[in-house]
């Protein structure tokens, strides 16, 4: 029998090329991972941006509160307000005795004849 006319032997090797498949799968995973990483990073950016927005808002609020408080402190410590408080006897002005004042210029001694001696209180504070 002519060997050429003999039926072909059944193929014993696997037609799927494992090496290529591995490459393909690895590539697919790589692209997938890159895609997921991109999404993750993008997501993180949005989360951080949201945190920035919230922090900025908090800073703005704190600054705003600070300015309100500065304005209130300024108002409460203004001369008209302090004078009002003194007249209401809510606060009292206590004389500082002359010996408690540190001076750059020498103090003038007070005398008993009613002569003005600037910023020198000979009477001890009550």
């Amino acid at each position: 029998m002519n060997p050429a006319l003999q039926p072909a032997k059944p193929q014993t090797s696997n037609p799927i090329q494992a090496a290529n498949l591995v490459k393909f799968v690895a590539l697919a995973f790589l692209f997938g991972a890159i895609g997921l990483a991109y999404v993750f990073v993008k997501n993180q950016q949005f989360v951080l941006a949201e945190q920035i927005r919230k922090t900025e808002r908090q800073i703005r609020n704190v600054q705003s509160r600070n300015e309100v408080l500065i304005a209130k402190v300024t108002e409460l410590s203004s001369r008209p307000m302090l004078q009002k408080r003194v007249s209401e006897k809510f606060i009292a002005v206590v004389a500082i005795t002359g010996d408690k004042i540190a001076r750059l210029t020498p103090p003038a001694t007070a005398v008993a004849d009613g002569v003005m001696r600037t910023a020198f209180n000979s009477e001890p504070a009550q």
């Binding site: 941006a49 509160r65 309100v68 001369r79 210029t105 103090p107 009613g114 002569v115 600037t118």
Partner: protein
């Protein structure tokens, strides 16, 4: 394959190709041809230009006390396209902002994207409102940070500080003249918003930071200002004059230490103030100065060598007939030297000195002392006053101007004129701004400026000695004395010019301008009272204005911690108070 089948495939391909071509053409049209148009629409829809407001600079006194501050407030607005429950939002917003729910609902119903609901809403209100909105899951109402100007000292120093208009631009006072430094420059940021209106920080575009305004430090000392204002308040209350002015200046530098006028206004609420009360009369009112002007003729005549310290001038025993009119002195005097002419305030002596100088020379000295010109203070509306040139003088002017008539000057000019004597002969430019301070700490100091040398130091000292005599026994201003100090100064009593022309009978503008300590002046202070409601016999500078000066000077000496150099003198009661009390007792 049969021919019919092939044909169908060809037709299907052609149809498919045509469809793709149409779609592609449309895509090209949208992405290429109409790219600019659609980009603009998209940008308008999502991108917003967010303004970053600049903070207005503060105004401080020379010691750093805050005189004008910013109070944060909010502008509350609604974006109707973000509102899902209009009724609930209207009710909530109306409750917090004190509005009618129907009004809010009507506004939201217009569907606008920027509907201002209320301006100048306090910070606390906004925080509470936002918390409740968040809790109830409502949206569509937003706020923009804004600020209002607050003046913690209320009406004190109101004329100097000024105020802002509704566009936050200074319209008066320092707020106006220093506008370019105080205002700063708003920044901006291009950013995108999502469909709920929240900013997408990731897509922020071009950004420019705000340049905050600079702080302005004034030369004003609020301690001295408070003293000045308390005293003129008392005068305004007790004597019921038309106006009262007081100015305190450091003669060596020209720094304004305090400046006040009555009536006054509260810059926190300018809308409810009478415009008349908003005038800073120290620089925009002109008055005939009266005898305070005599320092000009005395200084001029001495400096020109027309008289010297020992020259004797005959004062005509109180009646001098010249130009068809009689010029009178308060008392009749014979021969007097320049010192005594100033101490006794002789009109005739001063008129004769002016005649010795001649009109041209006398006019030159009037101008050299700064009268008839703007002195250049950093406050709006300063007027030059009115000093006619000699070509427009009549025959009497040479005898009237030396005693402060036929001339109109501002209170500031009188004060700066007296400063010439106090500082040894220099006319200083009045300075109200001490420094301009940036937010980064850079300080731009304003230096004192000498406008001109008016008279030599020797002449100034001579006049100063004479002015010290004015407050001594026999002078016209003994009530200006201050215990422990040597005070120099000059009284002024001028009949008030009537609006109808001529002089108003029985109405006087009385003043005292002096300095202390006379040997080394720390301040020059003017007190001017216009038409005090006292009898004509009492309405003199020496009786009305001098005691006010004395009280101001005494308290100022304590504030400045001046060391007394003079022996004690007996304390003097205020003459007006004594006479008032006497009148009360006889009733």
């Amino acid at each position: 394959m049969r021919k019919a089948e092939k044909m169908r495939i060809v037709i299907a391909c052609i149809v498919g190709a045509m469809l793709f071509t149409i779609v592609s053409a449309r895509l090209v049209d949208l992405h290429v041809s109409k790219h600019a148009e659609y980009s603009r629409i998209a940008a308008e829809k999502n991108t917003v230009r967010q303004t970053i407001p600049a903070k207005r600079g503060l105004i401080l006194d020379r010691n750093g006390d805050k005189l004008a501050v910013n109070l944060p407030v909010h502008t509350v607005f609604a974006d109707a396209s973000h509102i899902t429950d209009a009724e609930a939002v209207s009710e909530l917003v109306a409750r917090y902002l004190n509005l009618k729910p129907s009004d809010v609902s009507q506004k939201i119903g217009t569907g606008g994207k920027y509907l201002v609901l209320k301006r100048k809403v306090p910070d606390e209100t906004v925080l509470k409102m936002q918390a409740e909105m968040s809790e109830r899951n409502l949206r569509g109402v937003y706020t923009e940070i804004d600020s209002i100007r607050a003046y913690p000292n209320n009406s004190m120093l109101g004329h100097v500080l000024g105020y802002l208009n509704h566009e936050r631009k200074g319209v008066q006072g320092i707020e106006r003249t220093m506008e370019k430094h105080l205002a700063g420059e708003d920044g901006y940021r291009y950013t995108e918003r999502d469909r709920t209106g929240r900013e997408i920080v990731l897509y922020r575009g071009q950004e420019q930071e705000a340049k905050h305004g600079k702080n302005i430090r004034l030369t004003i000392d609020m301690g001295l200002q408070a003293i000045l204002e308390e005293e003129i308040d008392a005068t305004y209350r007790d004597l019921k004059p038309h106006t009262v002015n007081a100015i305190m200046v450091d003669p060596k530098t020209g720094e304004i230490l305090a400046m006040a006028s009555r009536p006054c206004f509260d810059p926190n609420n300018p809308g409810s103030s009478d415009p008349e009360t908003m005038k800073n009369r120290s620089i925009i009112d002109m008055v005939e100065p009266g005898s305070t002007f005599k320092i000009v003729v005395a200084a001029g005549a001495l400096n020109e060598g027309k008289v010297d310290e020992k020259s004797s001038i005959f004062c005509e025993n109180g009646r001098f007939f010249y130009g068809g009119r009689t010029l009178k002195d308060h008392h009749g005097y014979g021969h007097m030297n320049v010192h005594d002419i100033l101490v006794k305030s002789s009109n005739i002596g001063c008129a004769k000195m002016a005649m010795m100088m001649g009109s041209e020379k006398f006019h030159e000295y009037v101008r050299r002392f700064g009268f008839g010109e703007r002195l250049g203070i950093d406050l709006p509306g300063e007027i030059p006053g009115l000093v006619h040139p000699p070509s427009r003088w009549d025959k009497l002017t040479i005898t009237r101007m030396p005693m402060g008539h036929s001339v109109a000057v501002t209170p500031l000019q009188i004060t700066m004129g007296m400063s010439v004597i106090a500082n040894g002969g220099h006319l200083m430019a009045p300075q109200i701004v001490k420094s301009i301070e940036s937010q980064d700490g850079a300080v731009e100091r304003q230096q004192p400026k000498v406008v001109r040398e008016v008279i030599p130091e020797k002449t100034a000292h001579f006049i100063s000695n004479a002015l010290a005599g004015v407050t001594q026994t026999g002078g016209t201003a003994t009530f200006a004395r201050v215990n422990g100090f040597n005070v120099a100064g000059k009284t002024g009593t001028a009949q008030k010019v009537s609006e109808k022309g001529g002089y108003a009978p029985g109405k006087y503008v009385v003043s005292f301008v002096g300095y202390m300590p006379a040997e080394d002046p720390r301040f020059v202070c003017l007190v001017m009272v216009d038409d005090a409601q006292v009898s004509s016999g009492l309405n003199y500078g020496g009786l009305v204005a001098a005691p006010i000066f004395s009280r101001i000077a005494e308290r100022s000496a304590r504030h400045l911690d001046l060391v007394p150099t003079q022996p004690a003198i007996a304390l003097q009661p205020d003459p007006i108070t004594v006479l008032f009390d006497a009148e009360e007792a006889t009733r």
